[in-house]
Symmetry: C2
């Protein structure tokens, strides 16, 4: 009887030891998986060029933010935790921040260019993408902020270049269209001044001047009524505005 009891207890011990071993294995596996996932999460969240932000959809407060926020907005991650997301909008746009925040909640996501507030008080242009998700049963917002100040500056430069391009295409067309009638006017007025001419010839020359003046007037009138940006290939692959369209070309050619 005593022997059986000891035997049974030893069996219990053996079984418990096995269970414990299994549990320890499970701990090791789970910890290893956790560690792997943590490395992956850190890789994605901590080193991103964009700013990743997790915000409670209930309180509107930031509870996690990638360290990249330092580079773009000048805040340490810790400084922002517990702050309201809308506080990142410039003072005059904080109300708009609330609107955006509401939009995220209502539409479950938003993608927009917004102005954000740096720690030093200056502003920063950011592409904001945000959407709703759930963590531990609570609604949370995951927001990505991408600094687009540089891009904005580049686009402004491109806009200026394009305006110049348009202006030069127009001036090229103007020069092309007006030079010829103008040379005719100058030529005939020179002829009248230099030569002693009879009344008949004078009338012919003057009518030429008159026709070319009217032609120029018509061209100038057309210039300011152009509604479509259309160009023609010109000398040296330079593009000039197509100010005539097709129907006018024949008319102009007949005038010279």
């Amino acid at each position: 009887m005593q022997e059986t009891q000891v035997e049974k207890l030893n069996q219990d011990i053996k079984s418990l030891q096995e269970q414990l071993e299994k549990a320890e294995q499970k701990i090791a596996t789970t910890e290893k998986n956790f560690e792997k996932l943590r490395e992956k999460f850190d890789l994605v969240f901590k080193n991103t060029i964009d700013i990743f932000m997790l915000v409670s959809a209930v309180t509107g407060k930031i509870f996690d933010v990638s360290s990249s926020v330092k580079e773009h907005l000048g805040y340490e991650s810790d400084e922002l935790i517990g702050k309201k997301f809308v506080e990142l909008f410039p003072p005059e746009a904080e109300a708009q921040g609330e609107v955006i925040f509401d939009k995220i909640r209502i539409f479950d996501g938003v993608f927009a260019e917004e102005t954000f507030y740096k720690n030093d008080g200056s502003i920063c242009f950011m592409d904001l993408s945000a959407f709703m998700g759930e963590m531990a049963g609570t609604k949370v917002i995951f927001a990505t902020l991408r600094d687009v100040s540089e891009r904005k500056k580049r686009i402004e430069e491109v806009e200026k270049v394009k305006k110049m391009e348009g202006a030069l295409a127009m001036s090229g067309a103007v020069s092309h269209e007006l030079n010829q009638p103008l040379q005719i006017i100058i030529g005939f007025s020179d002829l009248i001044i230099k030569d002693k001419i009879d009344k008949e010839k004078l009338d012919v020359y003057l009518s030429k001047i008159k026709i070319q003046s009217k032609r120029m007037s018509k061209i100038i009138g057309k210039l300011t009524n152009i509604t479509e940006y259309k160009t023609l290939k010109y000398i040296d692959s330079f593009e000039i505005m197509d100010i005539n369209g097709t129907e006018e070309e024949t008319e102009n050619q007949n005038l010279t």
Copy 2:
């Protein structure tokens, strides 16, 4: 002796049970932490608007990709796992893809607009940000791809609008500058034609026509040599090109 043995065994069992209980608590905690982190990771990785991609820096193969890749590039996440990152570049740019991949490895990061290859064979413009990190002791690349096709289209539209703006500013200036001398030419040639005028008056009128023609010629010459985009406020807040600069203004005013 027998009693002590049983007692000792019971103590061992008790100790083992305690250890097991603790281990089970540890499992529960670790699993809970894992679950929490998994939710957080999924929130960031799985639902993002951007495409998140994890690539082995050694083999160049994708080992994780957010499901958003379906929407923008048309691939299921699973389809891409095991594929080489550079295969996402269009066939003709695959070599360039290798260059970018090398850049990421050398500079530990890259931020550029690149052309990617959709599943249907069409191309897609993406902002690519990527950097190097480590996971389980191996070098990995975390890449973020943002679809900018829409933005690119919008910029192209803006560029066209800006070109038109430049062209209209120029045509406004041309019209403003040339109309007056042209009206003077027309006016004097009308006067000569309609009135019977003496030789002296004829010379005066013709010299007026000549002066205005030269003035126009000078203006047109200037138009094509403009190097800076500068505008003046005009009627109804319409902007016209400033084709004169300051030093010419006085001269022009004296000519009328």
